[in-house]
Structures are given as C-alpha cells and as structure tokens.
Amino acid sequence: MDSEDDMHDANDLESLDDDFYSGETGMGSDDGDGDYEFGNNASDDSDDGNLNRQQENYTVLSEDDIRQRQEEDITRISTVLSIERDHACILLRHYKWDVDKVHEAWFANEESVRQTVGLYENPVARTFSRELLCGICFERHPCDRMCAASCGHFFCYSCWRGYVSTSINDGPGCLMLRCPDPPCGAIIGQNMINLLASNEDKEKYSRYILRSYIEDNITSKWCPAPGCEYAVDFVMGSVNFDVSCNCSHNFCWNCTEEAHRPVDCTMVAKWILKNSAESENMNWILANSKPCPKCKRPIEKNQGCMHITCTPPCKFEFCWLCLGAWTDHGERTGGFYACNRYETAKQEGEYDEAERRREMAKNSLERYTHYYERWATNQSSRQKALQDLQNMQNVQLDKLSDTQSQPESQMKFITEAWLQIVECRRVLKWTYAYGYYLPENEHGKRQFFEYLQGEAESGLERLHQCAEKELQTFIDSSGPSKDFNDFRTKLAGLTSVTRNYFENLVRALETGLNDVGESGNQPTCSRSSSIKSGKGKNGKTRTIGGTTSRSLDDGNHSHWSCESCTFANTKSSMVCQVCHRRR
C-alpha cells in the first residue's frame, strides 16, 4: 500500500488491495466542485500548480461582464489609434475582437486596413450642391434631409431607414452592412444605425454586436446549456478543455458537448452522430448535406454550381465536391465546373470509401446497441444521482445532523461522496463510447479495458451502496450512533479511493491504453506512467499504463502477465496480485 492511501484511512478496504488505487490525483479532475479540500493527498507534488492552472484556464462571463469587456476593448483601440469609438468597434469586429491583431494591422498599414474594412477618411464622392438625387428613390432632396457613410454617397433618410431595417431584420449579416452604392465598400457603423433605425431594430443590432463579441472571438463561446446566458472565455493552449459554467453545466470547451473525459472530442462527435444516425433525420442530413468546412453549419445543396458561399457572417467560399477553399480552384483544377481534386481522389477510391462508410452506418447494429444501452443507463443513473444529491443537500443532511447531533459542516463528506458518484457515472458512461470504438482486433487492449471498466463499475457500486444504503440507517436511527465516525471514515475512504481509481482510468484511456500490446521492452513514457514514476515513492510505478507496458514481451522475463487481467506480476508470485488468478 502506498503511503498516500494511509492518509485516507482506507485500510479497512482489503478488497482494494492493488496498487491501482494508489494513484495520485495528478491532474485535477474535471469536476471542479470541492475536489480539492478532500484531496489532501495532492499536497506532495505539482498538484498545487495544476490546481491553479485549472482554475485560471477559463472565465465564465455574464452579460454584464461581456459588455464591460467589450467596452474596454473598444476604449483601448479608440485611445491607442485615436479614432472614434464607433470606428474602433468596426475594426474590432472585422478582426474578430482581437485587439492585438487590430494594432498590428493598423500600424503596419493604416491605409490598407481602412480600404478593406471600409472606413474611408476622405469621401470618394463630394458634392456642394444644395439638392441631391437619392440613388434609391430617384427623388431630389435637400442635402439636410440626406446622409452618407464615410464614402459620401448621399441617400435620403427614408431610403436609408428602409435599407437599414431590411438588413437588420435579415440577421447578423447587418453588422457588415455597406453603403448601398453597388461598388462602394464603405461600412455602416453603429452610430449610423442609431441615427436611422427604429428602437426595436437598434436593440436587435446591439444584441448582434454583443453576440459577435462572443461568437466571432476565437477565445470565447456561449455555454451550450439550454436557456443559459453565460459565456466562457478560454485561455487558448490549455490542455484541459473541461469547463464548468456558473449554471452548473459542465462542458468541453473544444466541442461544446458535455464534459466527456476520457474520450476525445472526435470520438464524442462520432458517438453522438452514431446515436442519432438511427433517426431518419440524421440519415437524411448525412445523405444530403455537408457541413461548411469553416463554420460547420450543415448546408443543403439543392441546386447550383459547385462554388458554394456560406451565408453571412461566415461567407466562406468553398468547393462542394472537395470541400477545399474556392481560392484554390480555377483552371488548375479543371475549370470552375469540375474539380479534378475530387475526380482524382475518387479514382483513388478515397471518396468511395467515405460513401461506403455512410452505407454501413446501420450495420453491426447489435454491437452498437450493447454499448448504447449501457451508455444510456449510466446517463440516467447520473441524472438520478444528481437528484439524490440535491435531495441529500436539501433535506437529508439536515435530518442527519439532527439525529447524529453533529453540525452540518461535518457532513461535507457525504456531499463529496455524491459528487464523486455523479462524476464517476459520467466517466463510466463515456467508457462505453470508448469501448465501442476500441478496435475489435486489439485483443490485449480490449481485455484490459474491459477489466478496468469492470473494476471501475464494482468500485463505484461499492461507493454508491455505502452512500445510499448504509447512510440511510444513520438517517433513520433515533439517536446519535457511535458507529457514525467509523462510517465517516469508511465513506470518505471509499470516495477517495474511487476518485483515484477513476482518475487513473481516465488518464490511461486518454493515453489510448497505448502501453498495452506494444512491442518495445521499455516502459513508454506515457503521461500516466511518467506522473507516477516522477513521484518516486518507494520505487513503485504501477499505474495502469506503467504496469502493463512491462507485462508483454518483456525480454528479461522478470515479470509474467496475467492471462485474465494482463497485470504484470513479479516472477516470484504465483497468484496474480490483481485478480488472484493462478499463474
């Protein structure tokens, strides 16, 4: 038993005798809630650093925060560039709210920025007459009843109003509204909108600007939970994508699906697609649409040439056949109506392969159903556990602290246990997606994976049992029980041990169990094994990864690998240390 375990007083859990459970909470778990007070064991290495890093790699923003940040950015640009706030806002929108980029571009070549963005310094059209012809209604108007953007193309107020309101009601594309004069690119900013639009439209417009600050900015996204109005600003380059919104929704910042460690985003996307692929809708979308290569919105092409332009604000131009940028097309690719990249690829069988995969989407249904059912069961177990947790916090803890005459602050370990159960259900759920995609032919990995998953499940059952059934006896008892402190020790120990197990499991799966079945003799320096061995506690480096890397093909035969669980046992032991199977 490693010394860390002793700290949890978990010695009464003889059944958990393998070192697998002794794993350190190396990287913080993805469930931020209260993981840390309990994790005393996290004090002996770099975990404090991880803790800080995790807390700092994202910020949850309320609408007020967003407005404030937006105002600050606009003020910065407006001060540094000495331009109007309205113009600063236009520039920021054009450069996706990246202040540095605006600075960079502006100071590199102000004139060219002005041209591209449409912020003209000197009107291209100038006139001094008192009456002008409006280019939209073709009526003559006195100059004071007309206005123009920075370009100086005058139109009458009523035509401007129609123009602006039509555009705002067409959607967020109105943020890029330009002067109505066809070849003119002068941009229409918010000042002009405020001058011309109805109150309702002004409100819409300012919401679009707010949305643009989150949606166009590559470092921020809206929380995907229904009805949630928070956004999350993420520190780019962080390893851990899991974020927890103030609305208590945990999601992956990268793919905005719910938090899904240990599986990666690609697998989650595949799995979710797979789940809905059974519905007619998805089948139709698969067969008839492709996602825009840039903004990923599905596009149905029901007519027209292969040159696709996505709707504003994306406006990405691409080739329907090869999904490459349209700028790469032309004479070289066989003219504008053919795409020989596609033709070549098709001849090479690349696209046939993709097409065939679509066809086979419905095959192996049985295998899929097996994993799906278990995935869904854990999902609903998790929902149930969440409800139980709430019930526990709202009703039961009160009662318990009454019967046991202990302050509620002493009952925190129970909440901890339930939070851990919720988290474990989430991990367990995703291991089923993981299992579904684990190649059938990698027998070693599969076996090991299924063993780990089985252990995880029974470990969690133990915890769940303890937190549910055993706790109930204390809630129901008539007076303080002397066993309660023992119970506290047991449940806290189980919580900690289960957490460690699951964290190790997550890490091992994240590294793709890649130590299993590798031919090299040396332990690979996977994340899990290196974290472990870095600790150097009495030389034991048995984590999921570290252990098994030695189990197979170990040249010097100092270990033997268990046939059942693949654990690498020392040569001297005749019984597997993990599953007690005989050699």
Partner: protein, 161 residues
C-alpha cells in the same frame, strides 16, 4: 396597388410605385442596349426582350425576362427569371431561374432593372459553353410547385461566367 394595411408597408408601396414609375420613364427615354420592355399596364411585372450580343454564343437569339417587384422594392431584390425557353447557360436552369448574386444576397437598392439587365447580358456574353448547370434536373424537380428563385438559398456565385 397600395392596398396593404400596415402604415410602413403603405409607405414602402408608395416608394415602390414612385421608384418604378421613374425607372420606367428613364427606361423609355434611354433603354439599355439590347433590351426591349414590352408595354403593359402592370407596373409590378415587366416583361423584357433580351437580344444576345453580337459575336457571342447567343448572338441574334431573343429571350424573355420576367421581372416581378414586391411592395418592398427596391429594398427587396426583384424576382428575375427567364420565360420559356430559357437560354442554355451554366448558370441558368431550364425553368428560367438564374444563379446570379446581385439578384439575391448582393442586391442593393441602388441597383435598377437596367443594371440587372446589363449584368444578365454580360453573364450570357461571357459564357463559353451552351449547357445547363450540372444539377439542373434535381433543382428543377425541387421547384415544381412554382417556387420562386428567391425562396432558394443560393450558395453559389461565380463571377467568371
């Protein structure tokens, strides 16, 4: 023609009528070269004869454009289609629908029927092959119930032809 009830629509309708009258007057004084407007008393639907420009694939051929204006004209683009038979062109469908950005996303109220006509003629003139768009059959099938090209989401514009 200005029968709609909401005041904003009424003003727009008045704008549309005024503007169309002016455009028509302008057209009669100085029609764009190669186009003839067929006289009719319907201000909101113009039928225009197009004559293919000399020394192009469509030289000497005559086609008919039908231009329909909504109450929101010129804020909304007019609906422009070729009447049967539509010219063979990689951007023109056999049902007369035209794939041209200024008729949809890139429309600006400062454009006119005249400028649209000239764009269409230029599109015809620069064609190098008399052929239908690749997906003509499928598109036309989709439009069977008299769907307007303006209800289509056009994702594609190509200024080369």
């Amino acid at each position: 023609m200005t029968s709609s009830s909401s005041p904003s629509r009424k003003t727009l309708s008045k704008i549309a009528t005024n503007r169309l009258q002016k455009e028509l007057m302008e057209w009669q004084l100085d029609p764009p070269c190669g186009f003839t407007h067929r006289v009719s008393d319907n201000l909101y639907r113009w039928i225009i004869d197009v004559i293919g420009a000399p020394s192009t694939l469509y030289a000497g051929e005559t086609y008919q454009l039908q231009v329909d204006f909504s109450d929101h004209y010129p804020m909304d683009a007019p609906q422009v289609i070729f009447l049967h038979p539509a010219p063979l062109h990689p951007h023109i469908y056999s049902n007369g629908h035209i794939c041209l950005d200024i008729l949809y996303d890139s429309w600006s109220p400062a454009m006119t029927v005249g400028s649209v006509c000239i764009s269409i003629l230029s599109m015809l003139s620069s064609s190098t092959a008399k052929q239908r768009p690749a997906d003509n059959d499928r598109y036309v099938k989709n439009c069977r119930n008299g769907r307007s090209p303006k209800e289509t989401r056009w994702w594609f514009h190509d200024d080369k032809v």
